[in-house]
Symmetry: C2
Subunit: 253 residues, 2 copies
Amino acid sequence: MVVVNVDEGGAVTERNTEVEALPVGVAAAWGLRGRTGRGPKPVMSLERIVAAAVAVADVDGLAAVSMSRVAAELGAATMSLYRHVSGKEELLAHMVDAVFGMPPTVREDEDWRAGLTRRAWTLLSAWRTHPWALDVPIAGPPAMPHEVTWTEDALGTFRDTGLTDRERLSVLMLVSGYVRNQARLEAQVGEVGTNQPSYGALLRRLIDERAYPELNRLVSSGVLDDPDDADAEFSFGLDRVLDGIEALLRKRS
Amino acid sequence: MVVVNVDEGGAVTERNTEVEALPVGVAAAWGLRGRTGRGPKPVMSLERIVAAAVAVADVDGLAAVSMSRVAAELGAATMSLYRHVSGKEELLAHMVDAVFGMPPTVREDEDWRAGLTRRAWTLLSAWRTHPWALDVPIAGPPAMPHEVTWTEDALGTFRDTGLTDRERLSVLMLVSGYVRNQARLEAQVGEVGTNQPSYGALLRRLIDERAYPELNRLVSSGVLDDPDDADAEFSFGLDRVLDGIEALLRKRS
DNA sequence: GCCAGGAAGCGTATGACATACGCAGAAGCG
DNA sequence: CGCTTCTGCGTATGTCATACGCTTCCTGGC
């Protein structure tokens, strides 16, 4: 969490100001901070910096995203980035919001379940494409523009369901959290060792039948060995979540 | 993901070996790597290092956990840590497993729903006590001893439910993922700016009524202003998840 | 039109960090 | 007892984020 201001040197820095306190990157993302018009025309821009950083992360992972690496990708000097972004933390916040982009268009012919399902799949696709986003440290509540727009649109799918405002938001958080968690599990399993064909093979080396009878059975059944159909897994869990929401809606009508 | 081995100098290093490939920290955690008995009696130990690191993280957050900081807390030299841990990534893996510890004891008088509920609350408590654990980068599939034991015990709660092995695991991942996500949301909201009394106040500054009617209504209702009863929030979502699972069980019986 | 002020790019420098390498001494084994 | 193994740690290196300040470009205001 930083306070956003521009100092005497012109670089974007962090300072304690009564009126400007926002989570890192939020002011810039909402256009509350821009250039005055004076000075040389920038060759650089926040958008270009973010795009370069996302490209690095997509190829080499989050750990490869250093200010100097991003600058090198842009053919610029490291310190020039600081004219457009206050620091690495802000850059990361922009990167995450960038990869999720705008939500899918709202369709009036869909009921809440179909709407949420479609959104969940779109979200999952973004996580899968950019798994490094899972490792970006917590910076604050959802406040970046795309994030907020996803929430706004999704709240709309519950317009006529009888849920309270708080419940609608809670239900949304449940679904999007489920998507994130599935993406995380996929990323974890994707990190299985080079000499382990599967998660099952890994566990087989660690557990014994006496101490871990349930897992032993699971592992012996081969369930963890076959390359899971990640889509089916996702669907299964999503249906559980949506069934639970449906049970609530039934109570409300 | 590292390969675990001990090099000529005696420090724990990473090397490409056919037979020892395990996710970082797993071999050590399962006692597959220990000392031979030769050499001076160690003053240091993996357990002490991990405990010191957890203490630092609990007070100052994950970013404060540097090898030199942990060593300082132990009154030792930074490089001495490397005799017991291959690197920072391994240290982080041990830290996370340490804070979750052993799962609550299994109770035979509980049905699956009660059992899962109790476990969920215990898990949430650990996340709340150690929110830094949320920011530890993905290292591999769940393979650390405590983690595996939590899974084993929880699988037992579904023993006589008619679910397939794969379904049982999926359902477990759903619940534990829900807990993690709630902890994450709490941590995010806890990062609200110093000049924002609430998440609602933050959003109020960013959105306008025309573009964000749903959120505007939510914010105007004051729902996001009052200090949420986090426990009630958690309960609400957990019940949705468990209701969804219950719907599945009904189909299976 | 002029000029002061603001802004962009970036060179230089600093401190923090993770960890490689190797020395000295402690301890076990044959 | 000699040799091997292991522990603690000093020294060193490269990477990283970012503070500070210089030069040049450009605009807004008079």
